[in-house]
Symmetry: C2
Subunit: 258 residues, 2 copies
C-alpha cells in the first residue's frame, strides 16, 4: 500500500530531514491523500453536481468552517510566547472577522456561499441536518489539537500547503459550471492569500521545533490524519447524497428536482 | 422528519416523564435510529456479505470494542460513590476479562471472531487499515463520556436496551449463512446476558438522576447521539466495501475473490 511505502521511506532511519526534505515529505502526504482527488470534488469540478448536492456540501462544510477558529483558539491557548500567539491569532481574526463589512470573516463568507446555493443562513448556522459523520470527523480535529503535542497541532494545519491550488481550480470550475453561485465565492478569494501566509509560518515552526526525526514523523503523521479528516467528510457526502443516496436518520434530505 | 416529531413529542412541555414514559421515549429512539435497520446489517442477515466484507466489519468493529473499557473507565472515574463504581466496573471486567480462559473478556472474544473471518489477530489489534471514519465515530463516544454530564454519559450506554434482540437475530443468521464463522461467536453469547443487566442499572440511574424534564431530554439526546455513532460506522463500511466500494487512502482492501 502506498501509505506503508511512504511511512517506510521517511520513517525508520533516524537522520533528521533537512528543510527541503521535510517539505517534500509533507507534499508527498498531500499528493497521496489530500481531498483534491476525492470523487466528490471531481464531480463538482466537472459540473456534475446538482444544486441539492451543492447544498448538502455547503451545509456540512459549514460545520467544519465553524470550528476552525475554535481549533485555532485551542492552539492559541497552548502558544508558548507572545510572538507565536500574535502570529496564530491572525487565523482567529481571518475566520471570525472584526464585525465590519470590510472584514466579515471566513465563517460569514461561507454562510454567503451557502445562501448562494439557496439555503437559509439561519438554518445553516443552526446545523440542522448536518451528517453525524461530518461532526465526528470535524470533532476529531479538535481532539488532535487538544490532545497531541503543540508541534502536531500546528502541523495538522498544513493542508494549507495544498489548498491554494485546489481553491484556484474550484473557483474557476464553480464559475464555469454553476454561474448562479458566482456571488458567493468571497470565501475562496480570501483564502487564496490567507493560506500561503499561514502555511509558511506553520512549516517554519514545524521545521524549527521538530528536534528529532521521530518528532518530524509525528508532524507528518498529524498532516496525514488531518487529510483523513477532510477526505472522510467528502466520503460521507458522497455516500449520503450521490450514491447510493442514503442520508442517515435525521440528516438533510435533498428536495426532489433540486 | 421523524426526528423532529420525536423531539417535539417528548420535548417542549415541561412535565417530568414517568419511568414508563421515559422507557418508551428511549425505546422510540432505538426504533428510529438504532443500527438494526442499517442496510449493512440487512445484507449480513440475508447472507449476502462476502468473507472480505465480513473481515472489514470485524476489523473496524474491533476498534469500537477496544475502546469500550476505556469509555467505561472514564465513566468509572466520574462515578460519584462506591456503589455506582462497583456496578460500573463490572463493564470493564466484562470487556477486559481477568486473564483466565474462563473469563477472557469481550475484546479477546471479538479477536476470536475476527480470526474466524480469516484475519490475523495481531493485525486486527494493531488497527492497520481501519477506516478513518470508524476512528472518528468511535472517538466521539469518548468525547461524549468525557465532556457531557455523568447522566448523559450513562444514558449513552443505553443502546444495550436494543442489542439483545439484534444479537439474537444475528447469531441465528450468522450460523445459518456463514457456518464457517460459528466457532467465533462467543462474544455474542456473552453479551446476551451482560447487556440486559447493564441496561437495567443504567435505565434506573437515568430515571433517578434526571431531576427535570430538560435533564431527561439531555439523556434521550445522548442515546440518539450514540445511535448515530453506531450507524455512521456501518455507513462507512457500506460505502467503502459494498457500494461503490471505495476505501479511503490507507484503509483495508478486500482481496480479489474473497
Amino acid at each position: 500500500m502506498a501509505v506503508r511505502n511512504l511511512e517506510k521511506s521517511v520513517g525508520e532511519n533516524s537522520s533528521l530531514l533537512t528543510f527541503d526534505e521535510l517539505c517534500a515529505a509533507l507534499r508527498a502526504v498531500g499528493e497521496e491523500r489530500y481531498h483534491h482527488k476525492h470523487p466528490f470534488h471531481l464531480l463538482m469540478h466537472e459540473g456534475r453536481l446538482s444544486r441539492g448536492q451543492l447544498q448538502a456540501w455547503a451545509l456540512n462544510r459549514y460545520y467544519y468552517q465553524s470550528i476552525i477558529p475554535i481549533k485555532d483558539s485551542i492552539i492559541l491557548s497552548r502558544g508558548p510566547d507572545p510572538a507565536f500567539r500574535r502570529a496564530w491569532r491572525k487565523r482567529v481574526v481571518d475566520h471570525d472577522g472584526d464585525g465590519t463589512p470590510k472584514n466579515e470573516g471566513g465563517i460569514k463568507r461561507w454562510l454567503k456561499l451557502a445562501e448562494a446555493t439557496g439555503l437559509d443562513a439561519e438554518d445553516v448556522r443552526a446545523g440542522t441536518g448536518i451528517l453525524p459523520a461530518t461532526r465526528f470527523a470535524v470533532n476529531e480535529y479538535l481532539n488532535i489539537v487538544r490532545s497531541r503535542s503543540l508541534l502536531e497541532a500546528v502541523a495538522s494545519s498544513l493542508t494549507e500547503l495544498f489548498s491554494p491550488d485546489l481553491i484556484s481550480l474550484r473557483v474557476e470550475k464553480l464559475r464555469q459550471h454553476y454561474p448562479w453561485l458566482s456571488g458567493g465565492l468571497d470565501y475562496f478569494e480570501a483564502r487564496m492569500h490567507q493560506a500561503p501566509e499561514d502555511s509558511k509560518f506553520a512549516t517554519a515552526y514545524v521545521y524549527e521545533n521538530a528536534k528529532t526525526r521521530a518528532e518530524q514523523e509525528l508532524a507528518i503523521q498529524a498532516l496525514r490524519d488531518k487529510c483523513d479528516i477532510l477526505w472522510a467528510q467528502l466520503d460521507a457526502l458522497y455516500f449520503a447524497y450521490v450514491q447510493p443516496g442514503w442520508p442517515p436518520p435525521g440528516a438533510f434530505r435533498m428536495q426532489e428536482g433540486v
